[in-house]
């Protein structure tokens, strides 16, 4: 079995940024394993613009953003393998991959960064009743068919879910000559950005039905229509509001789930809230030397945040390889009063005090709140926010001094102090 210092699973934005940072931290024995035929991951099919405002101070398309990082990786001569699918990661850090070129290969790694992204929730995950005709796609699948392969998967389209991918696909399908008759959203609000509602729906007079869902799919061989209905406050469909929308295609944009099958094999502890690993501030999981970053850890709003997080993971993995011993004494960060989760999930009670960013999501839309960090019940940081929403990841950065207080505290809490709540 070949020994290797750092194996990075996934050559998308997370894996590329982690590799670059690991190299810059002095590591040379790095291998990126990518299952697709090219680097760049999901960015390759995200041909719309809006990426990179934070990282590059300009608005790039997905492929352009990917190309910047691919260039960084290639300029550093970092090794990567394409068409190589990792099928197992063990607790003792043996990585098994298969590729047509190499067959089945096992590598003994010193450190592993899982950067394998997330998956779309499929029809089965939301249990839509009805026929099994062709024409039901996840929005991302449709995006790949249109943007990468050049096929239009349907002409009369209904989209379930108003997250950003659903909104972007409403515009894309319209651009490519299809007619989008409705976007249907279960919640009374959209988890997508307002700017996407304006640019992708309002610009083309595509109606968005809040508090509605798809209750039935008609059509034996091909979708012929979907039945939508309004839902009550318990999100249950109201029978009397059912109506049929004729269509040949239903796109599902109903959420993303971190892809942690490999992590489970490695006995990595997962969070019930994020679906990703429980990690400390070094992005290391409970398995020494196994790190997670990007959408496999928690689903991000912006690729810029993925890149920043992953660069940190790359750097920390190199520290681990170089023998900096992991800390055993950890404080679990508790999220209360409307804060749904926070990454990192735990803090090391060590004496390494450096500025640290915390990323979190709230459980509902709240107005006029203060996002606060408490150490032993005492507020050490507060940030007033006019509005917070589940669709917008909140990001706060604490100073080295604040981190010292936090790491010495017995309890650490991230909470929302509410004023006027709507």
């Amino acid at each position: 079995m070949r020994n290797i210092n750092l194996v990075i699973v996934g050559g998308g934005p997370a894996g590329l940024a982690a590799a670059k940072a690991a190299y810059d931290a002095g590591e040379r024995d790095i291998l990126i394993l990518e299952r697709e035929a090219e680097l760049g991951g999901i960015l390759n099919q995200c041909i719309h613009n809006g990426f990179g405002l934070h990282t590059f101070k300009e608005e790039l398309t997905g492929p352009e953003y990917a190309a910047r990082y691919i260039t960084e990786v290639i300029n550093r001569n970092i090794c990567y393998k394409l068409n190589a699918t990792v099928i197992d990661v063990s607790n003792s850090k043996v990585v098994t991959y298969v590729s047509a070129e190499d067959g089945l290969v096992q590598l003994q790694a010193k450190a592993i960064i899982l950067a394998c992204g997330c998956r779309e929730r499929p029809r089965g995950a939301i249990n839509i009743a009805g026929m099994r005709g062709a024409g039901v796609f996840s929005a991302g699948t449709a995006q790949k068919l249109v943007n990468i392969d050049g096929y239009l998967p349907g002409k009369e389209v209904v989209i379930l879910g108003s997250g950003d991918i659903g909104l972007i696909m409403a515009r894309r399908m319209t651009f490519e000559g299809a007619h989008v008759s409705a976007v249907v959203e279960l919640m009374p609000y959209s988890s997508g950005l307002n700017r996407n509602i304006v640019q992708c729906l309002n610009d083309f007079d595509i109606p968005l039905y809040f508090s509605h869902t798809v209750v039935d799919i008609k059509g034996k061989d091909r979708v012929e229509g979907v039945v939508i209905a309004q839902v009550d406050e318990k999100l249950q469909p109201i029978k009397s509001t059912e109506r049929l929308i004729p269509c040949d295609t239903l796109l599902l944009s109903v959420g993303l789930l971190p892809e942690n099958e490999l992590a489970k094999n490695a006995e990595v502890q997962l969070s019930n809230t994020t679906g990703g690993a429980v990690v400390d501030e070094n992005l290391m999981t409970n398995v020494d030397g196994v790190f997670e970053c990007g959408n496999v850890l928690h689903v991000h709003d912006l690729v810029d945040f993925v890149s920043a997080e992953s660069e940190n993971a790359g750097k920390c993995a190199v520290d681990y390889i170089n023998g900096i011993a992991p800390c055993r004494d950890k404080t679990v960060i508790s999220c209360t009063n409307g804060v749904r989760y926070c990454v990192p999930t735990v803090l090391n009670r060590d004496e390494h005090y450096a500025p640290q960013s915390f990323k979190m999501r709230v459980a509902n839309v709240f107005k006029k709140v203060e996002l606060a960090v408490l150490a032993d019940g005492v507020k050490i940081y507060g940030r007033k926010r006019p509005v917070v929403a589940p669709g917008e990841m909140e990001n706060i950065t604490l100073t080295a001094e604040q981190m010292q207080t936090l790491k010495q505290a017995k309890t650490v809490e991230i909470t929302l102090i509410k004023g006027e709540v709507k």
Partner: protein
């Protein structure tokens, strides 16, 4: 005429009421900050949008290459610009920044490639 608009500058998403009866004195209400006024006035006087798409490539490692307008183009030109893309087939290699369609509909903005496609 008075119309409703959502400001897209920040996550607040202010609901604006815009009265453009007098084009030289557009009145904006509902904004929380001055950026809302600028947004509303631009939306009414000269709305522009970035357009992205993809075009066929012959002889490359992949069948399609992604493209974008170098900058935002007038909203009214969106569908004409997309029609132009359908008429184009590029030859690999294609590089980021290569002009795909020059001067879209006489507006002075080009479509450029946003992905590298090597020749096979």
């Amino acid at each position: 005429m008075s119309r409703e608009m959502i400001c897209i500058n920040c996550p607040m998403g202010c609901r604006l009421t815009v009265d453009d009866t007098d084009k030289s004195n557009i009145k904006v209400q509902g904004n929380t900050c001055p950026r809302g006024v600028t947004y509303a006035v631009n939306e009414i006087t000269s709305p522009k949008r970035m357009v992205t798409g993809s075009v066929k490539v012959d002889g490359g490692t992949i069948p399609m290459v992604s493209v974008k307008t170098r900058e935002a183009i007038p909203k009214g030109l969106i569908f004409d610009s997309l029609e132009l893309l359908k008429t184009v087939t590029l030859k690999a290699p294609v590089h980021i920044g290569d002009v795909v369609v020059a001067d879209i509909g006489g507006c002075g903005v080009d479509f450029i490639a946003t992905k590298n496609v090597e020749a096979v």
